[in-house]
Amino acid sequence: MLPGHRVVRTSLREVERLYRQDYRRFVQVAAAITRDPEAAAEAVQEAFARAIRHRREFRGDAPLEAWIWRVVVNEAKRLAAARTATAEVPAAEYATDGLPSENAAVRALIAALPERQRLAIFLRYYADLDYRTIGEVLEIEMGTVSATLAAAHRSLREAIEGVKA
């Protein structure tokens, strides 16, 4: 620690550090939410712009990382909602015969999970966040995180293996 008094407020440097350190994880989670790589990158940029503007409102009652993740998730959800209202399903989701491919079917299973389960899975698998941080991002208890992840995993595993059977 430096001697003397340090003013307590969120440092732009800390926000930048998280951006540089975890940029790919932010984009990957945003891509999972938006289902569009370009929208994901846009969501991350907008989310960080928002975080920078509002960083002095961060009250420190949860880690800055969780606060940033929450901003990113919310921005991605916002863009996903806008995209759903206007966009077509990407052609790559379908096999050449016009029927859904196996991969597309698996993706549909993931997309069909309840939102909380989906987000918990994304934050755990792509972002590698611990349960406490996931809980802070999604504003749920740690125990609920555990139960949500277990339910999501069970649903996906059963459904995927059913798809492939």
């Binding site: 620690m1 430096l2 001697p3 003397g4 008094h5 340090r6 003013v7 407020r9 440092s11 732009l12 440097r13 930048e16 550090r17 951006y19 540089r20 940029y23 790919r24 984009v27 990957q28 989670v29 891509a31 999972a32 790589p37 994901a40 990158a41 991350v44 940029q45 907008e46 960080f48 712009a49 928002r50 920078i52 503007r53 991969n103 698996v106 993706r107 299973l109 993931i110 899975i121 994304f122 755990r124 698998y125 792509y126 349960y131 740690m142 125990g143 555990s146 992840l149 277990a150 995993h153 996906l156 595993r157 995927i160 293996e161 492939k164």
Partner: protein, 260 residues
């Protein structure tokens, strides 16, 4: 609590659902979108480095002399930009320091790093290294008593690869001092000029070698006058190894002196 283990089938599905992206992002774009001012952007973006560290440095051992000289020097220095003045103005008075934002000036600079300082109502000083956004730090009187102080106050990634930018700041009260030399962790000799009020700042681009590689970083600082003659020499600890086992670490971020 048992953490979930993803089955191979679920993992494969998730890998295909959102493949890992490429790229490192564009921090400058995020800053622009946030409406960060050009001046503030300069602080954060120049050479795409995130520099950090509030700085605390000493006051005079002989207050009348030092203050008189320092104030004159500081007044002659370039005024700090508005965002620095603003940061100095946001201190919480109840916490015991009252910077005088209107007196903030640029006291030293080195390549990507600029050091700003101002007086405070406690009779010591407050400092900010450029690119900061946390408001800086004020010096305590006990620290302000030394004739020479220095600190290794920041260590951040510097662009691509394993390069680091390490920031060392300090102050000497001897008014004759015009330059300072000391050794970087990799052994390279660093020489910088003394700025206003006896302050100096050095931004060191070095490979990723721990400052505690050899147990610590305590280089001799040699100060020179305008004729190149040595006017002061001090060995100052900038970093040291502390702790044991997994908690063993390299401690830095403080200011120290040989005589304070």
């Amino acid at each position: 609590m048992t953490e979930i283990e993803f089955s191979p089938s679920v993992a494969r599905a998730l890998d295909g659902y959102a493949p890992a992206p490429e790229g490192a992002g564009d921090w400058q774009d995020a800053l622009r979108r946030a409406g960060v001012s050009r001046a503030r952007e300069w602080r954060w973006s120049r050479a795409r480095l995130a520099l950090a560290a509030a700085v605390v440095i000493a006051l005079a051992a002989a207050p009348a002399y030092a203050i008189g000289r320092t104030v004159v020097d500081w007044l002659a220095a370039e005024p700090a930009p508005p965002e620095i003045v603003s940061d100095f103005g946001k201190y919480t008075p109840q916490l015991g320091f009252n910077p005088e934002p209107g007196k903030a000036v640029l006291v030293a600079e080195d390549d990507y790093v600029r050091l700003f300082a101002t007086t405070n109502k406690q009779g010591t000083y407050c400092f900010i290294v450029s690119t900061r956004a946390d408001g800086g730090t004020c010096v305590r009187p006990t620290v302000a008593a030394a004739s020479v102080v220095a600190g290794y106050v920041s260590d951040v990634a510097a662009g691509k690869g394993d390069m680091r930018l390490r920031v060392v700041v300090g102050r000497i009260k001897n008014p004759e001092a015009r330059g300072v030399s000391f050794a970087a962790p990799d052994g390279k000799t660093i020489t910088r000029r003394i700025g206003a009020g006896g302050f100096f700042v050095a931004g060191l681009r070095t490979a990723t070698v721990s400052a505690c590689e050899d147990g610590g970083w305590a280089p001799p600082f040699t100060f020179y006058n305008a004729d190149g003659h040595v006017v002061a020499e001090r060995t100052i600890t900038l970093a040291f190894r502390s702790g044991t086992g997994t908690s063993r670490g390299c401690v830095a971020g403080f200011l120290s002196s040989a005589d304070g």
